[in-house]
């Protein structure tokens, strides 16, 4: 059964998340004995199609002015056509803003059921089920899609990026969209200047407390290494070491990132109330009795001024 990977590109190159999705797609194709193909939509993206082809899958390329911006309304019908043309049973993309916006609409158009943020697959042989988180990750579910065509997005971090193998073909696809019929108009994009993500939305947060003794440089540096937002305990904000809008806690912001690094934070309930929803909590504190260790998944007893530089070195070495 064939798998169609919906590729995502930006300014002339493939987005890395697509390669993670390809890995997931290959896994399904291997089990079901099908072929993997890409769908690439855009305007003037032939070079991207070339890049994709080098991963050994055919690329269905829909290149048209109307597809310049990835609006779901314009993309969905084109993708549905491609899925039919490619005889795809599985349609897959990475669970990025692009994929999460677009794929449900494609699924609806194909009369298909869909699974979001898939972490892995279950079932036997060709009968594939999907493992995905529910209740904010408090529960793992194994779901079955009962429709002939099955659509899913995958959490990129759960699949190692696919390597190049073989060479696929680029095939032009039909663009069955009349621009005049669209009710969606792209009206601009503003790059967000701050390199750091919004605290409440960030995938990772590095927060500092009294243990920083007022020096947030390391906390900020680690955050930047991780692409994380910077947070602070009330104590640090009170002391004037961090701005108000960094405060995480009962009276500050409530965050639920995948990774929360608490550096020099003791973990009073007022702080914990704001970050206990984090999936993985790392605590660095000199005091082995600090309450933060009770909720931390990984606690390091030690001086943050020693631990964080080591962690940064590890990060740097891995890239």
């Amino acid at each position: 059964m064939n798998v169609l990977i919906v590729a995502e590109q930006s300014s002339g190159s493939v987005r890395k998340a697509t390669l993670h999705a390809l890995a997931a797609g290959r896994e399904v194709a291997r089990r079901t004995g099908g072929k993997v193909a890409f769908a690439l939509l855009g305007k003037g993206v032939a070079t991207v199609a070339g890049q994709l082809a080098s991963y050994g899958a055919d690329v269905h390329l829909a290149d048209a002015p109307v597809l310049e911006h990835p609006t779901a309304e314009a993309y969905a019908p084109v993708l549905a056509k491609i899925a039919e043309a490619a005889n795809a049973t599985y349609v897959c993309a990475a669970a990025t803003a692009f994929g999460k916006d677009l794929l449900p609409r494609v699924a609806a158009r194909l009369g298909a059921g869909m699974a979001t943020e898939v972490l892995g697959f279950g079932g036997d042989g060709a009968s594939v089920t999907f493992r995905r988180p529910m209740w904010a990750g408090n529960v793992l579910a194994e779901v079955e899609i009962t429709t002939p065509v099955k659509v899913f997005t995958v959490r990129a971090t759960e699949f190692a990026p696919a390597a190049k193998e073989g060479r696929g073909e680029v095939r032009p696809a039909e663009v069955n969209v009349d621009p005049a019929s669209l009710g969606t108009r792209y009206a601009g994009f503003k790059e967000v200047k701050s390199a750091r993500p919004e605290l409440t939305e960030a995938r990772a947060v590095v927060a500092g407390g009294r243990g920083t003794k007022g020096d947030f440089a390391l906390v900020e540096a680690l955050a930047d290494d991780l692409g994380a937002a910077v947070g602070a305990s009330r104590a640090a904000v009170d002391a004037g070491w961090a701005p108000n809008d960094w405060q995480v806690g009962q009276t500050g912001k409530v965050v639920a990132p995948e990774l929360y690094v608490a550096a020099g934070i003791s973990g009073a309930i007022q702080h914990v109330a704001g970050m206990k929803g984090a999936k993985v909590i790392v605590a660095v504190n000199k005091d082995p009795d600090a309450p933060i260790f009770q909720i931390a998944d990984y606690g390091v007893v030690g001086d943050l001024f020693k631990v964080i530089p080591e962690l940064r070195a590890k990060l740097a070495a891995s890239r």
Binding site: S10, T71, A72, A97, F98, D101, L103, P104, R105, A107, A108, R109, G113, M114, A115, T116, E117, T129, P133, M134, W135, A136, N138, V139, L140, A141, E144, I145, T146, T147, T157, E158, G183, T184, R185, Y186, A187, G188, F189, K190, V192, E198, T200, E201, L226, D245, V280, V282, F293, Q294, I295, A296, D297, Y298, V300, V307, E310, L311, K314, L315
Partner: protein, 267 residues
């Protein structure tokens, strides 16, 4: 330029409650679990009310679920929504069921705008709005956010984040996507789904709570709508993720690195 807006208010388990999987994996233990309105829907309700306060019109809230969902409808009415529709359905809900039901409500209500939470925090699927838009052939704008911060004066004044065009025929939506902020304009009617940064929902005033008790709520059995109520996504089995080992200490950064990388897979 009055707007008629349909919003959703799903009844969901509060994830702060200890969510436990039944021993046989067939579902979660609901005993002792507290419920609330899906927080993304709450943002949708808030946005609809702000649009109504600015432009006039009517806000109708719909919820699909058991009798308990009346609580969430009343909560939305207490915030200021005009009337409610409770579609009684005790079976499982997936995007296809929800969009089928909402599609029917759309046909009978003919709103200018449907606003839904981008996902409900129980199944976390993030699909219903997109399914609905496709089903109705409407433009969609998902993950609506706001250019101003939630600490801004605009937020203090409860200004809507969705901007209605002067002619009242289209709506501009700011959405946060990878690397920046995108603006889409959709012609009405349209489907919008809300993200966290769109607004801070109000809490209900006491007169609001009192008035809500008297507002009209129509109850419709889902079966009477003549739509397919069979889900296309079936949950086979639930399990608890590996228990959180709070209090685990690692020896050094080396070990921390390994754990983060191989066990938690967050790096």
């Amino acid at each position: 330029m009055a707007l008629k807006i349909l919003v959703t208010a799903k009844r969901v388990e509060d994830p702060e409650s200890k969510i436990r999987v039944k021993p046989d994996g067939s579902g979660i233990v609901t005993d002792g679990v507290n419920y609330k309105m899906n927080p993304f829907d709450e943002i949708a309700v808030e946005e609809a009310l702000r649009l109504k306060e600015k432009h006039g019109g009517e806000v109708v809230v719909a919820s699909i679920g058991g009798a308990g969902s009346m609580t969430e409808i009343r909560a939305a009415l207490a915030m200021g929504v005009d009337r409610g529709i409770l579609v009684r359905h005790d079976g499982p809900l997936d995007a296809s069921v929800v969009s089928a039901v909402l599609g029917k409500l759309f046909e009978s209500e003919r709103p200018d705008l449907v606003i839904l939470g981008k996902q409900s925090i129980d199944d976390d699927q993030n699909q219903a709005g997109q399914y609905l838009a496709e089903r109705l052939g409407l433009p969609q704008a998902t993950f609506a956010s706001k250019a101003e911060s939630l600490e801004s004066e605009a937020e203090q004044k409860r200004a809507p984040g969705l901007a209605l065009a002067a002619d009242g025929k289209s709506l501009a939506i700011v959405r946060e996507i990878d690397g920046g902020v995108e603006t889409l304009e959709v012609s009405l009617p349209a489907v919008v789904t809300t993200d966290l940064r769109l607004n801070k929902p109000r809490f209900a005033s006491l007169p609001g709570i009192m008035k809500a008790k008297k507002k009209e709520v129509r109850e419709i059995p889902a079966a009477s709508l003549g739509v397919d109520l069979a889900p296309r996504v079936v949950v086979k089995r639930l399990e608890s993720p590996p228990a959180r080992k709070g209090g685990v200490k690692v020896q050094d950064v080396e070990e921390l690195w390994k754990k983060l990388h191989d066990e938690a897979k967050v790096l």
